[in-house]
Symmetry: C2
């Protein structure tokens, strides 16, 4: 990792794994890696990473299993993803997505009881919660984000969209192949624009109905076919709060594996003016001055309003505005 | 359109159509729009826009049909997309994707001969060629790009990836619904990073084996799950030419509907050094100094090398480097 970037503890899998992507298509290479005693596998249970919390609960690590041990225990290695090479050992790191619950797994297992498997795969914690709590390191978050995005894409790509046939995994889970019609499908990533609309002294924060109590964030929406990033920012801002954006500048991006998005953060300059909030999209939105935003960042807002934590790119957009 | 942007004649549907996206889900609204005598429909035949060239062949427009007239002529209106409202008339603009050739259409038509339909839908020209030749206006390119991306996505989304059932179109073609399993699918856009690697005085240009003779361009590759934009630039540069990037800066973006990508243009600073070119990905790549790049832009390169035309974001990255 040599590129300069903002010091944000995010979900970008850049720091720790060599993705080894040019050799994903070499099945013999992957077969040797997964059989090697040094191989390690993280596990998703119902989409949630299986972790090992520290005794005080303030930190956690992904649990790393031996693929050979899992196989010996009768765990079905159906949806396995090759995440890359551990640069310190050269060994392969894989992810296993088990959407069944532990009792179901035990039914297919010959050597372990359900109780033993539950212990094997416990606790499994929602990645969004893990990110929000800040208990995983940036590296562990990045590995988790890659695994969760691949698993979510795979669950929605069992069948060929063109011909309806069942597809099969290739390239360590990074490609799905429809043998009957020949189509190759690659992981899907949905670009989302997330923009902090601001004038010199104020910015717009809004909330959707499902947000946690008191949380306000930047506006966001999916980029559509035929749009560039700036066009999507202008359209979404007009739709959601009814105002025209004068200038758009890119501020940073972040993978967001819920289910498989790329958040593209922008600052959008606009004249201070009344908002026309689309109440189908937003429960509320209004202008906030810089002092109020600083209180939302440091937890001292008189009405208990707050902004997303540092795991989310919205935090960094707001922080940049707050800094002036 | 109020946001400042570089004056690039690109494929971004921002200028001319009101996408009217909040009302796409109102089937009655869309039904009234398409039945209105003012409605207009562009047609894709085998994925290619049907155009009307100017007599001298130097310019072209999309041909605009009346949906009522097409229906009366027995043309099956199966894959129809609502593109938005013409802001000057308030009428709806739609796209029809006909992947059959005109003779097939005539077989299902009751009132027109195959010959008449061929005339109806001729000429149909590949969008990439239209963009490269510069014969369509920016507005017409933008409308075409939206239609082609939606049509390409739809052709690959006939069946539900989760359960394999046939899906049906909703929201004017912007959503596909699996009734049996309840899944909604939305248009897919694949983020691609395209980066001009440069030091102070030189930049790296490369070519893939399938490029036209003499064309050299910026490096590019798909962003992967778990990556942010900067991480993808660093990884792709390392994979393709074996060097480390020191700083990444975003330069602009562009929709690229082949089949449904978003090109994210970046400048990537790197130290001048020998390249290790991955010959599986690239037929050639090397450093070019600023004078040589200027000759490639103005068509005076002694070996006949050239860079992509202004329809492509690569052109603007190279032009920015050439300007110093």
């Amino acid at each position: 990792m040599t590129a300069t970037r903002e010091p944000k503890p995010d979900l970008s899998a850049m720091l720790s794994l060599d993705r080894d992507s040019p050799r994903r298509s070499d099945a013999d290479h992957l077969g040797r890696l997964i059989s090697d005693p040094g191989a390690r596998m993280i596990v998703l249970l119902g989409g949630k990473p299986v972790i090992r919390p520290s005794p005080d609960g303030q930190a956690a690590q992904l649990r790393r299993f031996s693929p050979n041990a899992l196989r010996d225990a009768g765990v079905p290695l159906t949806d396995v993803f090759f995440l890359g090479l551990d640069p310190s050992t050269g060994s392969g790191v894989f992810a296993l997505d088990m959407d069944a619950d532990p009792a179901d797994v035990a039914n297919t297992s010959t050597e372990r009881s359900a109780g033993a498997l539950e212990q094997f795969f416990s606790p499994a914690v929602d990645l969004r919660s893990l990110a929000m709590q800040g208990v995983l390191s940036g590296d562990e978050l990045a590995i988790s984000a890659t695994a969760v995005a691949l698993a979510n894409w795979t669950a929605g790509s069992r069948f060929c969209g063109r011909c309806g046939s069942a597809m099969v995994a290739r390239d360590g889970g990074w490609r799905r192949k429809c043998v009957p019609c020949g189509r190759d499908q690659f992981p899907r990533t949905d670009p989302v624009v997330i923009m902090l609309v601001c004038d010199a002294d104020r910015c717009v924060l809004g909330r959707q109905a499902h947000f946690p109590d008191g949380m306000m964030s930047a506006l966001a929406g999916f980029l559509e076919p035929g749009e560039d990033i700036e066009a999507a920012v202008v359209r979404e801002t007009a739709e959601e709060i009814g105002i025209a954006v004068e200038r758009v500048s890119y501020a940073g991006s972040q993978p967001w594996p819920f289910p498989h998005s790329l958040m593209i953060g922008c600052l959008a300059q606009a004249a201070f003016q009344p908002l026309h909030v689309d109440t189908n999209e937003l429960a509320d939105a209004r202008w906030f001055d810089r002092d109020e935003v600083r209180r939302m960042l440091d937890g001292s807002h008189p009405s208990g309003l707050w902004v997303p934590k540092p795991h989310a790119i919205a935090h960094w957009l707001v922080r940049r505005f707050a800094a002036g």
